[in-house]
Subunit: 208 residues, 2 copies
């Protein structure tokens, strides 16, 4: 079925269009970003576009919607330089989603998630999150076509229970219960199909 | 468990580090990008960082590793401006993974996926893919810290079977069989936990 022709997006109902294009691009990560304002107020917000930028040295990217309304997470990162990223598992899903509401005070308090401070890092982690890491702001890219902002952080510390880390470094996110997301409001568990061998032209990929 | 301390990445074995940081950032999308070279040779390659850039107008981003070795997909997009994005379901997973090998000729031929041309768009789609769309290059952002490249395309046409599109525009990727990926080689089906209501401070999120 051809759903959209050239420029057909202009005639779509706005919520339909938002849901359609947000879900079209595929499954996404799901994590809570923890920051502290220059004035010391903690903030927690859900993000689905957590991007792997590099491993050597390690960098994480986060995509932000255009900065046309108040965006506490973005402002806190630009003001203080530091943030944490915390995976979401099913037991904290409702609270994680709820952090996106317009809270007057800290989202930690609002939704009932406990702050945690690790190894003198200044931004709050989510205590009940199982996989989490700390970043320091290093770069901002403003996307010209619509003002979307890509923030890149250098990874400073990571915390992963040993049981989930394979000998080759792969983290078994499914066993850790990390969720994947799609669109604006859909959340999923995962079911491993396979890990496949390094691709070579002369042999079919096989399970590793 | 604290897995990494400040600058600890420098002492990691290189493959361990690559797997670790590729999996850390969370679940990703999975799609095949179809292009044609200026000389008319078709190309197909798997990508996991398909990014939602905007809905109005609709844009898709793709993250590329630094352009230090031959990257046919990137070169074809920069040369010809056009590309297709095709979701991967379990029946074409082996072929999709196999397109990442170093093929001498077209990956379509190498792995046995059929090309499809729709509505006069010049780049090849994957015939057996169920959810696919066509993009025209509009912007390139080079990330300073490590040379990673973000390519942004304007969405020109999309093809989604009607059965997977909800009344509110949400695409049911799980029913379509679209996979999610993690790290360099792990592929997963999904299991919907919930779609949750628009978050407000005074009420707990509920199923929609």
């Amino acid at each position: 079925m051809k759903l959209l022709d050239y420029n057909g997006w202009e005639n779509m109902e706005s919520m339909f269009r938002r849901n359609l294009f947000n879900s079209l691009s595929g499954f996404k990560s799901l994590a809570l970003i923890g920051t502290k304002s220059a004035g010391g107020i903690t903030n927690l917000a859900p993000f689905s576009q957590i991007i792997h930028i590099g491993a050597n040295p390690p960098f994480t990217g986060i995509l932000f919607r255009p900065h046309t309304v108040q965006r506490d997470t973005l402002e806190n990162i630009l003001d203080t330089k530091y943030f944490t990223i915390n995976h979401v598992h099913v037991d904290i899903l409702l609270q994680a989603h709820h952090t996106a509401a317009r809270w007057e005070s800290s989202e930690f308090e609002g939704v009932g998630l406990e702050e945690e401070y690790l190894d003198n890092f200044q931004s709050p982690f989510v205590k009940s999150s199982k996989i989490k890491w700390a970043c320091e702001f290093v770069e901002r890219q403003d996307i010209k076509v619509n003002g979307t902002i890509l923030i890149i952080g250098a990874i400073k510390q990571i915390y992963v229970p040993e049981a989930y880390v394979a000998k080759d470094g792969f983290i078994d996110l499914q066993s850790a219960g990390s969720l994947t997301s799609n669109g604006l409001d859909a959340y999923y568990k995962t079911d491993l199909v396979d890990r496949l061998s390094y691709p070579k032209p002369d042999t079919l990929p096989h399970s590793i």
